[in-house]
Structures are given as C-alpha cells and as structure tokens.
Amino acid sequence: MSWQIRTLAVAIAIFLAAPLFIVIPMSFSTAQSLSFPPPGYSLRNYANFFSDPTWTQPLINSVIIGIGTSVLTMLLVVPASFAVIRNEFRGRSALRLLLMLPMIVPTIVMALGYYIYFGDLGLVQSYPGVILAHTCIAIPISFLILTAALKGFDRSVEQAAMGLGATPLTTFRLVTFPMLRPAFLVAALFAFISSFDEAVISLFISGRDKATLPRQMFNSFRQEADPTISAAASFLFLLVLTGIVISRVYAWLRARQRGAAVAGAFGDKT
C-alpha cells in the first residue's frame, strides 16, 4: 500500500472517530453546560447518570426493551433462517426480501406507521409496543448473520450424528446448536444493540413512561443541555463497543479451536 493511501485511510478514520474524541472527554468535564474543551475533569456526569431517575429509568427501559427485542428477534429469525437456507419452496426469495425490508424502508416512515397503527391497538407507550417495533428493525441484521453462518455449515456433520443414532431433535441440540452457538450469540447481541441505540421509533412511540435512553438524550438536549448527556453517550458507545468486542473475541476463539466455516462465515458480515 502506498503512503498516500495510508494517509487517506488514517484521515478518514480520524474523521469518523472525531465525535468520540469530543464526547468522551466532555463526559468527564466539570462544566455545568456542554462546552469543549473541558475546564476540568470529574466523574460528576457519570454519578448523575447512574443516580438521577430522569436518566436511570430510561436506562432500565432500554435494557428491558433491548432484551425483549433480542429474545423475540431470535424466536422469529432462527426458524426463518433455517427455512430459507435449507429448503426450496415457492416464494423463498420473496420471503428473504421481506425479511430484509426494514433495512430499506426509511425508519421515519416505519415510525409514523407504528405511531398511527399502535395508537389504535393501545400499544403506544408500552414495552410490548416498542419491543415489537424494534424487533422489526433488528430482524435484517440478525437474519444476515444467521443465514451466512448456516450457509457455511457442513450438513454431513448432522448426517453423521443421525447415522450414529441421534434423532433430528437430539442432532440439533447436541450438534447443530453448539456448532452454531457463536453465530446465535452474535445475532442476539446485534439485535440487542440495534434496539439499544434506536432513536427515531422510540421518539414516536415510547412516550414519557417507557422512554428509552436515546429518547431521553434527545429530550434532554433539546430542553436543558444537561451535560449528563455526554456521559450517557459515552456509556452507549462503551456498551456497543463491548458487544462488538465480545462477538469478535468469541468468533476468534471458536475459529482457533476448529479452523472454521462458522466463524469465518459471519466474520464477513459483522
């Protein structure tokens, strides 16, 4: 690689990461409002973030909604991935497209749809409502991860298990699932993350009661410029970063253990 390309790459990386270099130092600032550079450093913003109910309640809401989204997404996406990868049926590519649709449709359009539709169903400002909407957002990425892993899965291993006396269910429990566990884990993690940092739909339907963290950040920013928001942002970033690191480390460990189609297959997508 020539030095020009290297320089360009570094410049782009710095540009992309630049907001972090502002937000993270700011979260340790002593200033009463959002200002940069910080006049001094303290953990006050973090103390506030983890004690003030205006911040802790949205954090708890976000975690509950994130876990709910993750569980519901997996319940839907696991069977869907197996169906699409392992079977030939009419409308297979249509189904695949349908599952990817939330990635294509503008989020604001979906948010508006949910606002109107969920209003009639009484689901606005409720956990189930936000979880349902976030599941829709999470499906495409989880589906991509799982189908990629499934495509690289050697089915003769399942045949071997069956030939040795394992029923199809036992084969799934003892062979298929353990071998695909990293992919399942990463898919669930990405579902959680895509719910946790989702803002647009939450703004429309989570309401005051079930406000998620991003929604609270938006409100806080608009109303009072509370510097706690920088702590919230840093925390959000740290959580997403941890998720990605965990999934990479896990994939790497598995790959090292078994030279491996599974880890390699979703390594490309994450």
């Binding site: 069956m162 030939g163 006396g165 394992a166 253990q257 491996a260």
Partner: protein, 352 residues
C-alpha cells in the same frame, strides 16, 4: 459384531432429470463381505450409498439389511456406521466424546462407554488421544477417529464414502492396509465407495463398477480386471489395449489395423466385438510372429521398474508394458516386434 447381508433390489433414484442418478441397481452383498462401489464421479455410487444410509429416499426399489426392509426406517434407527469423505467429526467434542457419541445415543453407562471407546481407539492406533479436539489432529488421525466412531457401536454394516480421498499417497496406502486389517478382525460387512481403481482392486472381495447410474459389472478384482463384461469396465480399470475385431469363420478375429488375431474365446462369424489385451501381457519378440505388423514406438514412459511403450501396431493404437531391462535396447522412435498368448486376449461379450 453380527455381520449382515445387504440386498439392493431394482433401486432407482430420479431427480426428474433426463437421466436417473441411480438406474435400476440390483446387488447382493454377503455377510462380512468387503464390496467396493467403483466408478467415475456422477456414476451413482455415492447416491446409492446415501440411500442405504437413509439420507436419500429411493424413487423405486427395495433395500434390505439382513431380513429387514430398511426403506421406511429413518437413518438414526438403521444401525449403520458411516465414514464420510470429509470425516464429519463433531468439532466441538473431544475425540473420546466423538467416538462415544453413538454409545451415548444408545444410553450406555459411563464405565462401559469408556471401555468401548478405549478399545475402538486401540483398534485404530490412537490410544492417548482421548482428550484432543478434531482440529488438533492431522487428516489421517481424523480419519481414524471417524472410523472408530463408525465401528464402536457394532453396526450391522459399515459404509465408507471415499474415506481416503483427502490423504496423501503414502498415508492412503497405510490406511488401506489398516482398513483391511480392521475388516478382517471384526468380520463386519463393509461397502466402500471410491473412484480409485487401485484402492478397489487391492481391498475388495468384490467390486461393483458403476457407470451412468447403472452397475456395469459385479465381480472379484481378478474377474473385473481380466474378464470385463463391457468395454467401459475394460477401459476404466487398468491400462488397456481395446481392439475392435470382426469374427472370422475359423473362430479368430480380423482386427482393425492389425489383421488376424486369435482370442481366448471363439468368435461368432461376422460379429464385431471389443478385444481386451492388457499391455503387460504383451512381450517383445526378436522377429515377427503370426504375420503381425511391427510396432512403431511413438513415446516411452519410464516408471523405473517398468517401461510403457506407446505407439501403433499396424495402424491400431497400441501400448506395451515391459520390464525395465528389456526395454534398454529400444529407441524412442524405433520399431519393435511384439508377441502375446491367445489366452490373454479377452473377448468382451458385447457387440461393438
């Protein structure tokens, strides 16, 4: 281990294409027999194996294992051991757990399981590898684990799908000997799929030669080699001179490009048939015999212990394999005289 017979009756597998993947295959395998399915890729040998294992359903026909019809029985209740081409070991389980898997499925207790796994590991010379993982083993070792796993539960039948295909030549020859030893010691019925004719020749009690979804011939390696029933078998197995001759009134043949040739079997006057003469059955001669034209040598391939001469006898393409020392005096583009015994000319019983 109880050896069982396998009976394949008129089995056909169709995918709706023009040609059936497996087309009306019938074969009886005796208890304790080692039978190879030999054929080029796409000849239906693996598909037939998969139907026996239960991973594919025959479109028509019946498969019996012992006195059971196994068609409606799912693979996990057939009690058949299978070794896959890529081994198909469980990557997340240790060697001991891989081999113990079929025993676990049969609800065997820990003590007996450990003992049996130990014996199976012994059999494949892998003692001390119990706690390793498949990724930590070489190809040959993985192969042995797959084999141990397929025989540890004393199956009624063992299927091997090109199990040595991924190994290098030395290891392959070593494993061939090992496999034969295990077969002898256990006396279990084995079906061995391969496209390697040497492997089939050296290991099998009988060989079934597959071509285009059909069995061309079933026989002992000697039968298949010296008495092929079709010209496909004659040309697929070993090196061959496949001549074409028309039967004469006196029982000999008029062979294209060569002239009068006597075969081991008498000719039918006027009928055109393929004649098989193995290159190693031909000898160099000092002078022309039986009015045969000389052989023009176009190329020679030196194998060290023997030399293959490629050229034309008269106008027919012809190959001769002679021991190294005998070929010394011959030049690359020279002429030589050849001779052979009439009994070594096998008349392939099909109309060319």
């Amino acid at each position: 281990m109880t050896a069982r017979s396998l009976s394949i009756r008129n089995v056909t597998k169709s995918y709706g294409a023009l040609q059936n993947a497996v087309d009306d295959v019938t074969l009886d395998v005796l208890p304790g027999e080692f039978v190879s399915f030999l054929g080029p890729s796409g000849s239906g040998k693996t598909t037939t194996l998969m139907m026996v294992a239960g991973f594919q359903d025959p479109t028509a026909g019946e498969i019996r294992l012992g006195d059971r019809v196994i068609g409606p029985i799912p693979p996990y209740r057939r009690n058949i051991g299978m070794v896959f081409q890529n081994y198909a070991l469980f990557p997340h389980l240790s060697v001991a757990d891989n081999i113990g898997f079929p025993l676990r499925m049969r609800g065997m207790g820990t003590a007996e399981k450990t003992e049996r796994v130990g014996r199976a590991l012994d059999m494949v010379n892998l003692k001390g590898f119990e706690s390793r993982f498949p990724a930590e083993l070489s190809g040959g070792q993985q192969q042995r684990v797959a084999l141990a796993r397929a025989l540890v539960f004393e199956p009624d039948l063992i299927l091997l799908d090109e199990p040595l295909g991924a190994l290098d030549k030395n290891l392959r020859e070593h494993m061939q000997v090992e496999l034969k030893r295990i077969h002898r010691e256990l006396g279990v019925t084995m079906i061995y799929v391969t496209h390697d004719q040497t492997e089939a020749m050296t290991m099998s009690d009988r060989i079934a030669v597959f071509n285009k979804g059909r069995i061309e011939q079933v026989g002992t390696p000697t039968d298949i080699y010296f008495k092929p029933q079709t010209s496909f078998v004659a040309s697929f197995i070993g090196d061959s001179n496949l001549l074409s001759g028309v039967g004469r009134q006196d029982g000999g043949f008029d062979v294209d490009g060569i002239g009068k040739v006597k075969g081991a079997e008498a000719a039918t006057a006027g009928r055109r048939q393929p004649l098989l003469l193995r290159p190693e059955m031909v000898r160099l001669a000092a002078k022309p015999s039986d009015g045969r034209p000389p052989m023009k040598i176009e190329a020679r391939v030196n194998y060290g212990d023997n030399v293959l001469l490629i050229g034309k006898l008269g106008t027919a393409p012809f190959r001769v394999r002679v021991p190294g020392p005998e070929a010394k005096g011959l030049s690359d583009d020279g002429e030589c005289h050849v001779t052979w015994q009439a009994e070594d000319v096998h008349v392939v019983p099909e109309t060319a």
